[in-house]
Subunit: 157 residues, 2 copies
């Protein structure tokens, strides 16, 4: 205990539970996503990209807190499926600007459709209201960190 910042100590830590719950969902998600040619990591990337289109690849790397080289291969997979598009930035032609394609948007929507069953199972103890509450807290947390813009309600189908 040298020079602890001794931050504000809230009553509870959410980390472990968050991790635990994420794992539950992730495991099941793998199963339902597989037929769609997606894996959980893709879902995360697509979700981020839907929220923040036209993001630079580097920024994506920062947002995902993932090594640049791994982002490359992740995007390679998505691009191979035609779900994203890499364009050279006009300002700096070294950069790649990444964006969802129409196919990407649709695939993501399809994925979320089938994922409803998963969340329905794992979040069974939460009613719709609580789930929305949870969702908004997550958005807020992730966004506040400089990551996702409020996607706000999509008109959806």
């Amino acid at each position: 205990m040298t020079s602890l910042p001794v931050v504000n100590q809230p009553v509870h830590r959410s980390g472990a539970l968050l991790d635990h719950l994420a794992r539950r969902i992730r495991t099941r998600s793998e199963a339902v996503l597989a037929p769609l040619g997606l894996r959980p990591r893709h879902l995360i990337a697509l979700t981020v990209l839907r929220a923040r289109g036209g993001i630079t690849q580097q920024a994506l790397s920062t947002t995902l807190e993932m090594d640049g080289t791994n982002v490359v291969s992740l995007l390679n997979e998505l691009e191979a499926e035609g779900l994203i598009e890499r364009r050279r930035s006009p300002e700096d032609r070294r950069r790649h600007v990444v964006e969802l394609t129409q196919a990407g948007v649709e695939r993501l929507a399809k994925a979320e459709f089938v994922l409803a069953a998963v969340e329905d199972e794992v979040l069974a103890a939460l009613d719709d209201n609580h789930r929305e509450q949870l969702y908004h807290l997550l958005v807020q947390a992730v966004e506040g960190h400089g990551t996702i813009c409020p996607p706000d309600d999509e008109p959806a189908t």
Copy 2:
């Protein structure tokens, strides 16, 4: 699309965000937990065990949704550190009943202390109120699934 259960389709999916956020916390947690000889997976196990003491190893396996053999090695690590104790069940001597030791309780508390800094950073966009709200939603979700008993507020330090 043969026979879709077509479950209730809530507005938003939380899975990806949950995964994303969990990863953020997990990554940072590794760093601050390492000096304590813990890793995120240990934290999860300890957290579950604090909530549900005297649980059978098999039940733990179910709760963690983790293969039995992996739970063994996980517990081996914790036991080697003296954080948990395996006792034979009196009813069925094949079973092991797992419980936190005093050292385990303390180590977990210490871990949560240092983790406050991590969550403070990652959840910066949430005030204390929101964090509690998040925590309770997580507990509810995890618990409702037949996992964690309401730990309800510990007096804590």
